[in-house]
Symmetry: C2
Subunit: 462 residues, 2 copies
């Protein structure tokens, strides 16, 4: 139990420092039974609660809005079991994603999810928010890989569905409701998930391209020629790399130090980070080599570097994974995470840049402007764009320029206003841009049915 004002801060505030609650009480149960007792009590007394995992969410879903009680799963962090013959892994909700993957690595397996926040986020939170991340292209969504869940419902009932079967067609697949429910239907306390064999050979290519059209062409070729070994295909625009360069303070993979000894600034309009994972190194190398020959030959790609050694791999990944933090370096960031058809995906970034310029809100040099720059990057393979608007301060005028503009753009192109970040507090009122009235009614029905007193993560989601 945490009640000390100083200790409460970390639980009341999200990592972007954008959402701050006023909770006076954090509970850290150690067992599912304790979670059950807490919820039964809170439900009876109609006390609102916020389930919290690693608190790495990006939409204000994991912190209180007012003085809700925080229920943190941080003290539930045991690995329950791992079956080597089937690859089925059972963990407490509070296990850190990276710790889970490190454990699996020793057994020759891999967690079918990877994301920038892996060092802090919890597996339970990943499932509750249906995290997508970097390996979705290869291993699919959590709706496919999660085999079972243990969930405590609002009234304290424990739903033990910690199944360890790849196939089970006996009744509605209840666990699916909780994947992506963001703590609004119950608190996930345990996860059973299928973990594939860890690839024996991993390659990364970091490429420079001259247009967004070339990025798309490069993806089509990669999907066809690298097919079963393609495990990530990420794109980054120039501005995102320039931001990262300022923050990482190392030489960009496609730059040399210039004559003055200063790192050059990344200059290609677009970059691609492409990963292959397979079982046979020579085959993977040959496939990648042939692919690179093809895309460099027809000038889809104009520059590139390839890496196979673990340290180099990690360094290359920082130029993709470091963008999130780099976007915050001037004071703050407005983050949008949308699904869009591939061909219209980048035009959202261009439209936003143009709009901010036109409204005279944005400049990389003039420090009196609230916006530094809007950058775009993301998972081409999943049709998922991240639009980060790096700002010098959070500002109502900027917000009005961005919303509902971004959501209207996405809705017009039949996209999703939240591809992987969820709804949380930020997007609660915008669900209508992505879902129909019938769907929204059905979602509300389910919420009301399972949490009639509305104690679970209120003021959010729906």
């Amino acid at each position: 139990m945490i009640t000390d004002t100083n200790d409460l801060i970390a639980f009341n505030q999200d990592w972007m420092k954008k959402y701050t609650g006023q909770s006076q009480l954090v509970l850290k149960p150690k067992t599912t039974e304790q979670v059950s007792k807490i919820l039964a009590y809170c439900n009876e007394k109609k006390l609102a609660v916020v389930p919290q995992g690693g608190n790495t969410g990006l939409v204000g879903g994991s912190v209180p809005v007012f003085d809700e009680i925080v229920i943190s799963t941080a003290s539930m962090n045991n690995i329950r079991s791992f079956d080597e013959s089937s690859g089925i892994f059972k963990v407490d909700a509070g296990v850190i994603l990276e710790a889970a993957d490190t454990f699996l690595a020793e057994k020759g397996h891999i967690f079918p999810l990877d994301l920038g926040a892996k060092g802090s986020c919890f597996v339970g939170g990943n499932v509750a928010t249906n995290a997508g991340g970097l390996r979705l292209l290869r291993y699919g969504s959590l709706h496919g890989s999660v085999l079972g869940l243990e969930v405590v419902l609002a009234d304290g009932t424990v739903m033990d569905s910690m199944h360890s079967l790849r196939k089970d067609n006996t009744g509605y697949d209840l666990k699916q409701l909780f994947i992506g429910s963001e703590g609004s239907l119950g608190i996930i306390t345990g996860v059973s998930i299928l973990c594939p064999a860890r690839p024996k050979s991993v390659n990364i290519a970091f490429l420079g391209l001259e247009s967004y059209e070339k990025v798309q062409k490069c993806f089509q070729t990669a999907r066809s020629d690298l097919c079963e070994i393609l495990s990530a295909f990420e794109f980054m625009d120039r501005d995102s790399q320039q931001l990262a360069a300022k923050s990482l303070k190392t030489t960009h993979p496609l730059c040399q130090e210039d004559e003055t000894g200063v790192d050059s600034v990344p200059e290609y309009p677009f970059y691609v980070l492409l990963e292959t994972s397979g079982s046979t190194k020579e085959h993977d190398d040959e496939k990648l080599e042939n692919f690179l020959e093809k895309v460099m030959g027809d000038e889809t790609v104009v520059d590139g570097t390839v890496s196979q050694d673990e340290t180099q791999l990690r360094t290359l990944w920082t130029w993709r994974e470091g963008i999130a933090e780099a976007s915050q370096q001037f004071g703050g960031v407005y983050k949008y995470d949308v699904s869009l058809p591939l061909d219209s995906m980048y035009s959202l970034v261009e439209a936003v840049q143009e709009r901010l310029k036109k409204l005279n809100l944005s400049s990389t040099e003039d420090e009196s402007k609230p916006v530094y720059e809007a950058v775009g990057y993301g998972h081409i393979g999943d049709g998922n764009l991240h639009l980060n608007v790096a700002v010098r301060e959070y500002n109502k005028e900027v917000e009005k320029a961005l919303e509902p503009f971004v959501y209207e753009f996405v809705s017009k192109h039949h996209g999703s206003i939240s591809a992987e970040h969820g709804l949380g507090f930020q997007k609660k009122n915008y669900i209508g841009y992505s879902k129909s009235k019938v769907e929204i009614r059905m979602i509300k029905d389910i919420k009301n049915h399972y949490d009639p007193n509305g104690i679970l993560n209120p003021y959010k989601y729906i």
Copy 2:
């Protein structure tokens, strides 16, 4: 509208001829709007309906129990759209699975599901029953690959969730409830599904093995060494192959004709059919060759044949896919489809064989015995066993010998009493062997909420 007694037979009876209803009316709507109007009317008048796809189900889920109105999706069979850049495919529920896959083949893509009944079953029925089939090992379950659904609810409301996004975290993933709901929550009228690139190279190995332990060992090696190109790993016991040999009347792939000119009888205790699918023929061939050298070298496998040509591939598959029909050749079949931990999987078949022998119910020679033989086969990679009890007649004594014996065995080993066939009419009363009281209550709650008058596929599922 079909009301003619003769024409009604095909809709009243399942393909095993085990379940027969007395419906006097079959409706074949052509549009979602018509389905909506039919359901709105039936709901108001409290008329029970049975949604029916290709009527290839194995648990009596798609035929009436009494005189329910059959709503067939057979006249809703248009391909709505296919997007080559993303692989997203939208179809009416009544499109035949094989027709869908043939269409996709021309575009260089593949339907992420394949099963023996592909020539008759409908895509909508596949989704409604969460069909698993032969490619699950590679492409995962429909919970991962289905992106959107159009569903008509009991009161006629159309839930249009025909999304074409790989990622969308805006609200509960409602479509998941309908995947595997067997027509008990609504009628699926449209499906949006992600279809991967069609592999350019396909190989099949058909292997003979001396024990079930060797089958497991062979699978572990295949998963590790063939890894990303392994697309099916099926096992069949000797008795299943002898049944198939009687029915197919061709030479078994691991037999030669003997001196009398008669086909020899398959003699290895176990057989494995293993498929690889990849993008680069030479690499796949080399991987398979190295794998075979290893498993033949250490005597995991004692005999085998490899095939790469389309006709040979199909022939080899018939020895796996033909077992279902072969099991019926003496009069009928009791089919069980269970998930079990790999190491105890085959012991169910042995236990049933022993039990039937002990009760003096089974003989391949003595035609006065009701049971011909119990055979086992299935998807090792998915932990999914098919147990077929081939009988000369459907018989109460045999049923009492099998049930609840089989379900108790499965429950004791924490398996599922229905891995992929569903509950339907056959297993409605046995769900308690696989699901907890809390889960069953939640399933009933959902059913009552969405279908308060109980008009959708009554007397089944739950």
